[in-house]
């Protein structure tokens, strides 16, 4: 074959090949267009169906709180602002097909049972009956989110909704597109999707098959997991809540502020102010979603482990009621795992029955020799430190929760001589017990015994124990006139609800698990008492004094607190915080001149220490040295850019200097951390006005007026105290529990440790 002929044949072959390729390409293009058109048709149909659903619900929906705010009094909303057809939410069983471990854990968790437990349903039933179903959106935004975004919480909506039984389902949490830290359901719900398409858009217009998911696992992950799901801010959307005016027709009130408590705690490492410093950051998920080895199959696992979807916390009643034995066991372990330190730290010696002895303090117990006279009156100072919780105990403004101190005095034979904090035969707790609780009072001056938070007017007193802080609980008792030693035992106990609430919501005399969270016993001899070997859980001596100092500070016993911190400084002269702590007492005691030298000593030991700088700035501001204060605070803010305290103080210092733009920036920073910071609302109302921003000034002024305390509400608290003298002393920061001789045995019931039992 000639070269030319060969070339011609090759050219023809090439032409033919290209033509064929072009034809196939054209066919493929046409095919893709058909598919594209089909997909477009599906999308249009789905959009029309969504619109139709929204129109149908809107036609009969109760828009009591405004046409543009259909979900109030919850802060929940949807991406479009429209209602979402509940059929768009896949069931938890669907997810459980591949995520068996997560499903099993979730089924036993508080999330999955958030909207079916009788105590919750009865409480919401009260609200529905008293005010109307539309008000229940406040609760359901976090307990039954599907019902809220579906627009089901309105008159005439179906009573039986299949998703109700699942509460906070997989797709509730895994469809949230955005949150802010206002809480009360401050999330934006997207239309649920188990997969995104090639362009990263959620597939919401058609069913996605298992095969599609399995061959595009990356796109499944993109649809259901977002980085912010791993943050504390994510949890804040529901684990922070307020009682808004729309709910109570009264005013905005703080309810639960777990996120803010965490953000201010040592666990977050975002504030310089905690008394102790943690080695690493712990988020909500660090404690409540610890990674655990799989027991069942779960394709979401990494290294054979899965972030626990049990969300272990303190709900001991769900496992008992539904028979979730493992959940119950694990919660008890969680509650007993170094949450508290308890230290029977000191004996205060008052007058003996014969009188005459001046009061002294014997401390620290166990390391000190002392004499006790027969029949002597003693007061034990029990120091309880919240060392393991990043928020308050009890964790929420929940005065139907019960955690208390049981204090017993027994003779050498183990016979009970006296007790505080016992459970009575009818299940009620000893009224004069020391409880880590508060009292929520209504406009009648009585307690809201059934958690009718919409009727709250004031918190009569608050003895909950903050993260990282200590409380001193005092028990006065009399030593035997004759005979051997006595042992005194202090135990922190917990049960989910008070008996009254359980009797109403579950059944009469329903017995709940009572968990002993921590306990300590010391033996007091009549006569000579000598040092004993420290227990395994006992803190070092300086730390025992430190916790005592913190407890006395919070009890407003400034002189004693200062003395305790001085002991720390003596034992640990290298410990800068000992001097800062002394200065804190002096600042609260309004002794600014005495505080400054201690702060300088602290800064000499730990130059540029943010905690000491912060308190020095307070002293400087008090002295009118605003420039110095601002310099120190700026350094604090540099080290702790999310310290709301530093920014708040900076804002005020700038405001005092009439540097309004700078003040504005600082307060807006504070609002970026807590949108409901009261000081920021007030100061910004002033600052905006100075800057000529009248509308925003008016908004902030209105928020401040809505959120500030109502001074007249104190009358309700006083009325309650007046008619409940047995607990009136609890409202006094410094109080003593007088131990009575024990009542006959029949008046007491034994407590039950652990959880479990029951039936589902």
């Amino acid at each position: 074959m000639s070269e030319r002929g060969k070339t011609t044949r090759q050219a023809a072959w090439l032409r033919g090949t290209l033509l064929t390729a072009a034809a196939i390409g054209a066919l493929t293009f046409a095919f893709s267009q058909v598919r594209s058109a089909r997909a477009g048709g599906e999308a249009n149909e789905a959009a029309a169906a969504s619109q139709a659903y929204n129109d149908r619900i809107s036609a009969k929906y109760n828009f009591r709180f405004g046409r543009t705010k259909p979900f109030l009094p919850s802060n929940a909303t949807t991406e479009t602002g429209d209602f979402i057809d509940p059929k768009q939410f896949q069931t938890a069983d669907y997810c459980g097909h591949c995520h068996q471990e997560a499903h099993q854990q979730w089924r036993e968790s508080a999330h999955s049972n958030a909207n079916r437990a009788p105590w919750y349903l009865k409480n919401v039933g009260l609200l529905n009956a008293e005010k109307g179903i539309e008000f229940s959106r406040h609760c359901e935004g976090c307990h039954d989110p599907i019902a809220v975004v579906a627009g089901a919480l309105t008159e005439g909506s179906p009573k039986k909704r299949p998703y109700d039984q699942d509460g906070v389902t997989c797709q509730v949490c895994h469809s949230i597109q955005k949150v802010d830290t206002r809480g009360t359901g401050s999330y934006v719900m997207g239309v649920p999707a188990v997969m995104v398409d090639e362009e990263g858009q959620p597939i919401t217009t058609r069913q996605v098959s298992d095969a599609e998911i399995l061959t595009h696992l990356d796109r499944h992950s993109k649809a259901v997991m977002k980085d912010f799901y791993r943050t504390s801010e994510y949890c804040s959307a529901c684990h922070k809540a307020a009682l808004p005016r729309e709910l109570n027709g009264y005013k905005w009130q703080r309810a639960i502020f777990l996120y803010d408590e965490w953000q201010n705690s040592s666990f977050a490492k975002q504030s310089p102010l905690p008394f102790y410093v943690k080695d690493s950051v712990s988020t909500c998920q660090t404690c409540h979603m610890q990674r655990e080895p799989l027991k069942l199959a779960d394709y979401g696992a990494k290294k054979g482990q899965l972030a626990s979807h049990r969300w272990l916390g303190a709900n001991t009643l769900i496992p008992k009621y539904y028979g979730f034995d493992e959940q119950g066991r694990r919660i008890v372990q969680f509650l007993q795992n170094s949450v508290f330190n308890i230290d029977i730290f000191a004996l205060e010696r008052g007058e003996t029955p014969e009188g005459g002895t001046p009061q002294t303090v014997v401390a620290p117990l166990g390391l000190t020799s002392f004499q006790v006279a027969p029949g002597e009156l003693l007061t034990a100072d029990v120091v309880i430190q919240n060392k393991g919780i990043a928020h308050t105990h009890v964790p929420e403004q929940r005065d139907m929760y019960e955690s208390w101190v049981n204090f017993t005095m027994k003779d050498a034979n183990g016979r009970l001589l006296a007790e505080s904090g016992f459970i009575k035969p009818n299940g009620d707790l000893d009224e004069r017990v020391h409880s880590f609780t508060n009292r929520l009072i209504n406009a009648k001056g009585t307690r809201n015994y059934l958690h009718e938070v919409w009727n709250n007017r004031i918190v009569a007193y608050n003895n909950t124990i903050q993260s990282g802080r200590s409380q001193v609980v005092r028990y006065a008792f009399q030593m035997p006139a004759t005979g051997g030693p006595v042992s005194i035992t202090a135990t922190v106990k917990y049960r989910r609800f008070d008996q009254h609430f359980v009797d109403y919501t579950v059944s009469k005399h329903y017995e709940q698990p009572v968990v002993d969270m921590v306990s300590q016993t010391r033996v007091i001899m009549v006569g000579e008492n000598t040092p004993v070997a420290p227990g395994a859980e006992e803190n070092k001596e300086w730390m025992r004094w430190n916790n005592y100092g913190i407890a006395l500070l919070d009890a407003q016993q400034y002189a004693a607190s200062l003395d305790a911190f001085a002991h720390v400084a003596k034992m640990r002269p290298d410990y800068a915080d000992a001097y800062t702590n002394m200065a804190i007492v002096q600042i609260l005691w309004q002794r600014f001149d005495e505080a400054r030298p201690n702060l300088e000593r602290s800064l000499a030991l730990a130059p540029r220490n943010a905690r000491a700088l912060y308190y020095r700035a307070l002293v400087e501001r008090n002295e009118g040295k605003l420039d110095l204060a601002i310099t120190d605070l700026n350094e604090v803010a540099k080290s702790f850019p999310r310290s709301r305290d530093a920014h708040r103080e900076l804002g005020y210092a700038y405001y005092q200097q009439r540097k309004y733009e700078l003040a504005r920036a600082e307060y807006e920073m504070v609002q970026g951390i807590d949108p409901d910071d009261l000081a920021a609302h007030y100061q910004l109302s002033l600052v905006y006005r100075r800057l000529g921003m009248k509308e925003r000034a008016a908004q902030e002024a209105a928020r401040f007026a809505d959120q500030k305390d109502d001074p007249s509400a104190s009358a309700y608290a006083l009325e309650y105290m007046r008619s409940h003298t047995e607990i009136a002393n609890e409202s006094v920061p410094w109080h003593v529990h007088e131990l009575d001789a024990v009542a006959p045995a029949s008046d007491h019931v034994a407590t039950v440790s652990g959880a479990g039992g029951g039936s589902q």
Partner: protein, 154 residues
């Protein structure tokens, strides 16, 4: 029976704009296939071709999401860089089809031929690339050699 060479287009699911991107590529590829076919080359799934098809499938069918690019392993699933040394073909096939030990079953997801080519691809993996040791790519959970070979779940 499909040719391994046909694997790539068959796994594409073009939609919307992605479809437009796909067209020129598909045209070129199909053109290439046409050239191959017209040159009278036999369309036989040689072992090499099966391995290549398997490699494409490994990328296309989501295996990399858990087993990592080139099977180097991730937190989700073990490295497969030396799986051919540890597992017989039948064992690998069983694992893909039936799943187990944290892996979903793919018998209802993949075609028999696709599973076969994946097996070809994986069974040929006997020696970990050297650079892996240098770069320290995580190989968590690589199938332990000590496991009994008779364990079908592995």
């Amino acid at each position: 029976m499909l040719s391994p060479d046909a694997v790539v287009p068959s796994t594409q699911t073009p939609r919307g704009r992605a479809g437009l991107v796909f067209v020129p590529g598909a045209a070129l590829l199909l053109g290439f296939l046409f050239i191959c076919a017209s040159s009278d080359r036999p369309v036989q799934a040689s072992s090499m071709q099966g391995r290549e098809a398997g490699a494409v499938l490994f990328h296309e069918k989501g295996c990399e999401h858990c087993h990592g690019v080139d099977g180097v392993g991730t937190d989700r699933a073990p490295a497969l860089t030396t799986v051919g040394k540890r597992r017989k073909k039948a064992q690998i096939e069983h694992q893909i089809e039936q799943g187990g030990n944290g892996m979903p079953a793919y018998s209802a997801v993949l075609q028999p031929d696709e599973i076969k080519w994946l097996v070809e691809f994986l069974h040929a993996k006997r020696k970990a690339p050297k650079q892996l040791k240098v770069t320290g790519v995580p190989v968590h959970g690589d199938v332990p050699a000590a496991l009994p070979a008779s364990d079908p779940g592995r």
